[in-house]
Symmetry: D2
Subunit: 300 residues, 4 copies
């Protein structure tokens, strides 16, 4: 069954004394949830350093909470905590996950010919602003091999044509399997199949180069130019089967004018795209995003 | 034939020695236009205080220019200038209009039950920030009579029902006729008929409560909530026969989050709507907007 | 001693079965706070509908939390809860306050000659967007009496001159005494004395017409024009003895250009000022602001 | 004498038939300027593709205009045009310069230990978005040699200590001499001497990591954190003898909250800094900036 959260970490913990963990919970709202969970965490020696919650009042009363907490002997204590928490979770009918902050999520970045979003991720990663591992870059073009390998990151060139699409996707899955927690489509211009999406429920992040839901589909900057909008934007969202229709994680915009032609819009848009995608990836890897139906709760 | 500009003022000039005028020109681009017009204005004693131009390079090379100039004896000299300019205009195949800055445009404001956009206009008008006359307010509801009349502005309550729509519009046109240069739909929740639009080509300004072209049609805040966007906006545009499809004059946006329900979006949106509408009206009455095809050139 | 919170409500509760309350707490950080408080609230039958917390890690580890909760019989149960909470509070060395959501805070709005900030508050109040009572408007000028009284709000004209300043302030305090929880300086152009500030610790909100700390003091738009900034702003802050130096609650900005003269900056600034002030007042009256040293924690 | 414009190009023209040129003019306002210049350009076969003007009404009436125009045989015709224009310029007491669009300006980029602003420039340059040559990078640290040289750009490591400051600057000037039109301080953390500034009047662009004039001087993010501002920014300005006091070219901002510590502000600020600096450099190299007294007119 599809999880509302990103890469789970309930079982395979690695070494490291002390440290920080995060817990994401969603469940039907009712009295006593915060008390029960915070009491449970306290009893297990966890010091809550941040908590955020949200009650979705009008619609069936879903409740969402994110805890960030420190444990003295994380390696030993977190599995115990995870096991014991089942009783609390069952009582409140919770969907939940814990994540160790120190276990970096592994990204597989897909890219086509535009390099700006990839570059932003590589750059932030190198600057230490992106707390993740970039396991690989996969592209349907050979162009960025040298760039990517200069960062010490493996580059897989997997061409995609109409006739080889299925085979190409099989290869992609083979390469990604067990090596990535998240797939980032950094201006990857091919449609992802339902079968692939199924493998990464709410863990494929795409950057769409428009302020969705305006300008769904191809050539959004040309569409924006034709419509004569005065502001353009970009949207980072989880990929679902509906094209450009998945849960929105982050959006941002920039003012433009009649003087800006399609090329200007593309140039201005590049900066928006990379900033928006980088923010969305950052929030995802810090376990700040919960998906509920087709929307996100972002505790940032 | 429909004009690309707003209320024309080429003939009926009123009194007042000295003063400022504006000239809006659009024509196919070719060498010598700026030279010819600025030389012409200089010869006629006009001192150019501002000029803005835009060349729409890739698409057939349309050229747009706005001059703001002072004339010593405006009453006497502007008609001469207007008459003489015909020769220049014919030479370059220009569409053009002149406007005296001192001749305030007259607004007919249409409103339904939401008062915030109307209030913003009344308020800016009273504060002297809106250089226009508000000739009347027309509403399909009686609710705002007292408010509007307290500003010394006539209020026409013209109810609209499915069966009386045609009759209501006949009354509206009768009331507006010769008394308004511009119609402002300040959250007027009725569809304007093609016949009415024809009377005010590119002179009906509507505020749509979404970042168009996202969320065309009814209940845009509910649509925005359902889609889970992270930014909401408002759009001021000229009204054409295509619903919410006319040339966009101005847009603005505001960040929202998962915590904001539909009521919150409406509340936040009210501030965006009134700011955007007021800006669009201001630019229009200062003759800063040229419509070309379905887009605007805004010299602000 | 000065309180870090706004108008306290720990004792005098009025009628009303069921309802919402808020609790603001600040204390030195240590394990178990969230558990203790949420357990306490649960035991007292409170259903937490929102909680926000913030740990100020690097500096001495202060901890701040805001709870919003529902109680079945608020009138009867809140006093019990308040009394019992003392034990929890003592254990963690907490500064804390509870507030009933239904008890509207009472505003005294001070104004001079510029009416836009006052108008925004009156308007939002009338539209139901400002969940407070406006008890009175106090001005050193008579100009806005008619406007204010048309809203059914008392207007006190208390002239201030160099020689009558002390006497004027005595009158102001007399008029405000017991009738206002918060003082809002909506472009009130007189300095407030330390004696007055002492009466309303962190409960006087001022709007300064610049992006503080840029352009402290008089004529900020003229200063901004002279400096040639490309963006202007406004700042809502609590008033302390240091002129324009108190804790900042909210700021916002707008892009300007070389074309904008001082009058344009003032006009553009008016919209920023009223939006920023209204937001700050809204957050204050919803008990979303905690002051710590000279900064604010805003749980919005 | 110091010029209000950037790198002049009135004499040394290089090869290339046809092409675009730009003309920047500032002079006391009086009637007939636009007519005279546009007539002059027309007579010389120049087709004006863009013009922007600004009249600084209240203060002594300075007039600024920027023309962008095409000439058929630029190599042959521009020198003629430049020579002939003297008569027009003298008549109106103009300061003026022409620039060929095809003659790329040469940048010397100064950098210390933070690489993000340099990287943005390198990246935009490589993507073709920065229409300039990067002649060299000069740093007081050796760290970025490999990065810079991988772009094929010379790297000069010139250490600066308190005792070698004068000698270091002599070396810098030697290296830069005749090889750069513009100096870009891309987070260069040393003070530039008046002697150096004199060599590049209004042609040294600095990025300051605050929303000037707030937080002049060192450690602006720490200052911003201490003051508790809700928005941070960055400022690109020309360097003058007054520290952080030169004419502002561009500014931008981003919202922050109490949750952001100094490190967060630095991280968020990095994106603002690089975007703002890149925009300022772009406008400068497209000859869109005129300096008048301590302010800029930016025709963008």
């Amino acid at each position: 069954m599809s999880s509302p959260f990103n890469s789970p970490d309930q079982t395979n913990l690695s070494n490291g004394k002390g440290g920080r963990a995060r817990m994401l919970i969603s469940c039907p709202d009712r009295p006593g949830i915060v008390a029960a969970v915070s009491h449970f965490l306290y009893e297990h020696g966890a010091n809550i350093v941040q908590s955020d919650q949200y009650t979705m009042d009008p619609e069936g009363g879903m409740f969402f909470i994110r805890f960030e907490f420190d444990l003295n002997d994380l390696e030993k204590e977190l599995p115990v905590l995870v096991e014991d928490f089942t009783r609390v979770a069952d009582r409140f009918d919770m969907k939940w996950h814990t994540f160790r902050a120190s276990r970096k999520k592994r990204l597989a970045v897909f890219v086509s010919k535009e390099d700006h979003c990839l570059l932003e991720l590589l750059w932030q990663w190198k600057a230490g602003d992106l707390d993740a591992d970039i396991s690989m870059v996969i592209s349907n073009h050979p162009d960025m091999r040298e760039l990517v390998e200069s960062f010490g990151i493996p580059y897989h060139h997997i061409p995609v044509t109409a006739s080889t699409k299925a085979e190409a996707e099989r290869k992609q899955m083979e390469v990604v399997a067990d090596k990535a927690d998240i797939v980032v489509l950094a201006r990857y211009m091919q449609i992802i199949s339902p079968k692939f999406i199924e493998q990464f429920p709410n863990r494929i992040i795409n950057i769409h180069h428009s302020f969705l839901p305006a300008f769904v589909g191809g050539k959004p900057y040309a569409q924006a130019y034709t419509r004569g909008v005065k502001i353009i934007g970009a949207t980072a969202h989880y990929v679902t089967e509906e094209l450009d229709g998945g849960p929105i994680i982050e959006q941002d915009v920039q003012r433009v004018s009649h003087r800006d032609n399609v090329e200007d819009l593309k140039r201005i848009g590049r900066t928006i795209e990379r900033v928006v995608l980088a923010r969305a990836v950052k929030w995802h890897i810090e376990d700040r995003v919960i998906v509920h139906h087709n929307k996100t709760v972002v505790f940032n």
